[in-house]
Symmetry: C2
């Protein structure tokens, strides 16, 4: 087995492959081709440099070509674009972008890590000026340069995915009035609607204008401004536009070379990350992966998988037979004061995959309530209705969200159930958690549903209730003043046992409180006092009303 | 099956049992007996109230007897001490501490959750005044009252466990000069020595005096001060003494009733938390548990297990057959600016249990280094030398320690290996983590040891090296100035390939850097260039020198 390995793309996946490959094999000839002027840069940090949170530009350069060569004896050719894979001759055709000359380089193996390109919706005017995309350092320089120099007043961000939301925040931090235009009825697609609703409310509170369920129909210059026409006919006037409407896998080279492309549009690879040509591996944002939960093909362009895939490919290039176990899409974002995270599948994905699921929420503080600084989080889990196998989780909150999503991601990776969450032996001291951690609590609440200890009803089912169903609000009177579901009866939980005769046992009773805990206790009381059709409103009034706003 | 359940002890385990029991069974007759004046208080918050971090005393009262009765229809009898279990008649003998009268209450089931008592070393003067223990609210009132009123200058804390260290911090926050006296050569017993060394250095930096390897031999009054005599002959003069020398399970009732006691001193229970009398369950700090890693009996007095055990017992009292899966001893503490955490077994425990293990460290930032506020952590994992099954983990660092210990605790609970850590799909965005999270990284570093990619040597083995072994420091020259292992040769990593001929291939070479990463890369280079006896110093110079201080 020869060991001349050519790597296409020198950032997350490519640089990781090269580093591990060298550690495993001092002898291999390793060349990185990178069309851009930098390798190993911090893609994920770009919005924060524009927002001046990361002040120094050099911090974004995790490795330079020189340092990479010195430490790893890897040849790095920046500003060299691979234009063709000649599989028959095992050669790459490369264009030196400075000299404009094309040359060939033979290989034993190729590793494709060319990433993805920002999607530009094909609307009139999309290639005009002051319309930016963000993928690399030059893009960052352009946007930041424009903001620094022109001190614009406003921006429209097209697309409310993670990058769009991060850009909205960072431009807002720079003093701009920011609007987000999003085709879907919500931002942050990995979240389900009621979870996203909490993010919407926070963004609006921070002064971000949201145009949801709305596409961009056209872009035009209007005096010294940009005019953004929306599909519903509205027009926005702004200083600059950020196109953050998702990315599409960079498959041009692979396609031209006749490599198989998956149904999601990414390069198809096997478990060992080999393309349909066994001498060509592919990783990162360019490939289609297997969804670790459904085993369906999926497109999940994230840095964690890209880095880890690079390491696996390097192992496989040096004699190992290591599988990439698929991706869960675990992701997180800071959204102003909020932290928002998800892992596994959401309701949309499960419905599409035709997988039955049940849902449960808890709302709990990140650490002991009596210790200063405790803040709440809404934690949603999705699981199979039979044995309770975890399918996904979403959390919206503040501090401590990242911890719980990682624990849940770990449980999902190991194909565990909601019952397994109940027993997790997690670290507790007042500044860090609770004796029953939110993750344990999520397991308790979900377990109660599966064990028929309580039946739940969801926020979107309230409107479908029979007219004579009783909506029983068990909150304290003072809480009721903050708002209530129309037509509710209020009996505070602690007096429920004494006032049972006020309720008609023959009717359906939906119990609710602020977040679901007291509603659950109330439901248990009713169920054991002869009420036969009792449901607890999952997530309580807080979640219900978040969606109404 | 009757359902009159008497609960002995109304705090973590007892109150949790009562609450869940009522939710499961409206009909059960439930009585909580609590000898003290409060139920459901926040034991774990007590040090922080003394330190005025938790300002309001009422915050410590998570539930009051009245609220518990109102919500859960549970009869709460505070200041009622259970003095005897009459198993033959299925009755408890109870002493009303206010009236001093004794009465009997019959039961179908008893749940013992009487907790533990602070250990007072049997030394002369231990019962003198200004010598405090901390277990409950009255203890807290006493200590805080003394500090508030007398504004003492100094305190000696006897015992450097979690409570001792928390008390040291909180008294220091109140302006006292604090010394910790500890019998063992280190504080925080769950940590291994080199991890504890980092805590020692931090405590000393904060001004806490440590008297390690040192017991208290006697206590006496000396004018208006206390004199604390240590076993090594030293004498300390102080204003007050906190006895935090561990706790012993409260087994008096159980012993008198002839219930089986385990070898660790706790009440023996089966998997369902039943004592040797099937009508009597026991939970919390009073019981012996099974160590989830070794399956050996263990004594692990922590709030998480106590609360969860209470819930399991309530389930089993209402028809379930639920097992407590054993305890891992996952624990965490804030120690001034540090966060210190552990889960599973440490080296001492594994050695005692005669379990072979291997050890690996990584030192990584809590989140992307280029995002502001990144702070390092030292993460140690212990695993079997064959398949790499995780046996334990310890972390010393700042923000983000709690997250990693919980992920590791989850992996240990599910009996996973270091290789499983490599694939964990954890949430990454710059404010929260890295594309390769510290937990992934721990898996990589450990996997390399198991796969013979690198051999490691540990801090305590450096002294045993052959005289002609080469100590190769691959740090940069400027780092060397901060200190070095005696007799080292310095060749910065990036010039190693060019300077190989300076080193003798026939000799043992120990490579080291600051934390182990560059040492590992250096070792890989040497191994592949004909050096046959190469080792990387695990944890690097930072860990090595932490122990020397
Ligand atoms: C603004 C932004 C924020 C992000 N935030 C996060 C985050 O918080 N968390 C997260 O997990 N992920 C985040 N991501 C995604 C993450 O950066 C990518 O998943 C990851 O970089 C993918 O790695 P890759 O190696 O596949 O592609 P890239 O890192 O994009 O590297 C591909 C490289 O290949 C080069 N290339 C392409 N074609 C050729 C060719 N023919 N010849 C030579 N070179 C070529 C490109 O120039 C590019 O530099 C973010 C991305 C962006 C843009
Ligand atoms: C200062 C301090 C800090 C702590 N910090 C932490 C931490 O950060 N994290 C953590 O996990 N754990 C911590 N713990 C430990 C945690 O509080 C215990 O593990 C937990 O409370 C055990 O619950 P339990 O129900 O067994 O006992 P307890 O909560 O102690 O309750 C036992 C109760 O039983 C009563 N009782 C005893 N005998 C009788 C009788 N015969 N009749 C009537 N009543 C009786 C006692 O008065 C006591 O109130 C801390 C403990 C203390 C004291
Ligand atoms: C910079 C870059 C090339 C580094 O790659 P890398 O060398 O594999 O990664 P690290 O520097 O973190 O080192 C990890 C290695 O050190 C080892 N290691 C880490 N700490 C160690 C320690 N204390 N002791 C021993 N080994 C250690 C790990 O085992 C791993 O080696 P392995 O893969 O051979 O097992 C790559 O991460 C990169 O290009 N990043 C920037 C681009 C990017 O990722 N963008 C998207 C996110 S913003
Ligand atoms: C106060 C105390 C009695 C509470 O016990 P509890 O009622 O079991 O606990 P919580 O109030 O957290 O409620 C948990 C219950 O609500 C349910 N729940 C929580 N959030 C919910 C939601 N949003 N929707 C539905 N159910 C929810 C859980 O499933 C659980 O019910 P279950 O056990 O029947 O499944 C007990 O924790 C206590 O005494 N604590 C103080 C003492 C102590 O623990 N000290 C040591 C640590 S400092």
């Amino acid at each position: 087995m020869g060991n001349k390995v050519l790597i296409v793309g020198g950032v997350a996946g490519g640089a990781s492959t090269a580093a591990r490959l060298r550690r495993m094999d001092e002898e291999a000839e390793i060349i990185i081709f990178e069309q851009g002027p930098h390798i190993s840069f911090a893609n994920c940090g770009l919005p924060y440099h524009i927002g001046k949170v990361i002040e120094e530009r050099e911090k974004l350069l995790v490795q330079t070509p020189e340092a990479m060569e010195a430490r790893f004896n890897v040849e790095v050719r920046i500003k060299n674009k691979v234009v063709k894979i000649d599989r028959a001759n095992q050669e790459l055709e490369v264009k030196d972008l400075e000299s404009d000359e094309t040359y060939r380089e033979d290989y034993d193996y190729v590793v494709l890590s060319p990433g993805a390109d920002p999607i530009k919706p094909p609307v009139p005017g999309v290639d005009g000026d002051r319309i930016f995309t963000l993928r690399n350092i030059p893009d960052t320089d352009e946007i930041k340069g424009y903001v620094d120099q022109h001190k614009p007043d406003s921006a429209v961000v097209v697309g409310g995915g993670y990058i769009g939301v991060e850009m909205a925040e960072n431009l807002h931090e720079r003093g701009l009035d920011v609007s987000i235009v999003e085709l879907a009825p919500q931002v942050l697609g990995p979240l389900d609607r009621e979870m996203a609703a909490q993010v919407h409310n926070h963004l609006r509170m921070k002064g971000i204008e949201l145009y949801l369920d709305n596409g961009v129909a056209g872009l035009a210059d209007q005096e010294d401004k940009k005019k953004v026409s929306l599909s519903n006919g509205e027009e926005l006037t702004t200083d600059l536009v950020i196109m953050a409407a998702g990315v599409s896998p960079n498959t041009e080279l692979a396609q031209k070379a006749g490599l198989e492309i998956g149904e999601t549009g990414g390069i198809k690879v096997n478990d060992y990350l080999q393309t349909s040509d066994p001498n060509i591996y592919a990783i990162g944002d360019a490939i289609e992966v297997t969804d670790a939960v459904t085993s369906n093909p999926a497109y999940i362009p994230l840095a964690g998988p890209a880095n880890k895939q690079g390491r696996i490919v390097a192992n496989n290039l040096t004699g190992a037979k290591e599988k990439f176990p698929g991706s869960q899409g675990t992701a997180i974002a800071k959204v102003f004061d909020l932290t928002v995270a998800g892992t596994g599948n959401n309701e949309k994905q499960l419905t599409e995959a035709d997988i039955d699921y049940e849902v449960s929420y808890i709302n709990k503080k990140n650490h002991a309530g009596y210790y200063p600084g405790a803040v709440p989080m809404t934690l949603k889990i999705l699981f199979t209705p039979d044995e309770g196998r975890l399918l996904g989780a979403q959390i919206v909150g503040y501090e401590g969200v990242d911890k719980r999503i990682d624990v849940l991601a770990t449980a999902i990776r190991f194909e565990k159930t909601v019952f397994d969450l109940q027993d997790l032996d997690l670290a507790y001291a007042p500044p860090f958690g609770s004796a029953k951690d939110p993750v344990n609590m999520a397991g308790f609440a979900a377990g109660n549903i599966l064990n028929d200890k309580v039946d739940v009803i969801h926020w979107h089912q309230i409107d479908e209730l029979a007219d004579d169903a009783i909506l029983l609000d068990v909150r304290e009177e003072v809480e009721v003043k903050l708002g209530q579901i129309d037509g509710s009866v209020n009996i505070p939980l602690n007096s429920l046992r004494d006032r049972l005769e006020e309720l008609d046992k023959s009717k359906e009773v939906v119990v609710y409180c602020a977040v679901g805990l007291r509603g659950y206790i109330g439901a248990r009381i009713l169920m054991q006092h002869g009420f036969e059709n009792v449901k607890n409103l999952a997530g309580g009034y807080k979640l219900y009303s978040a969606v109404q706003k």
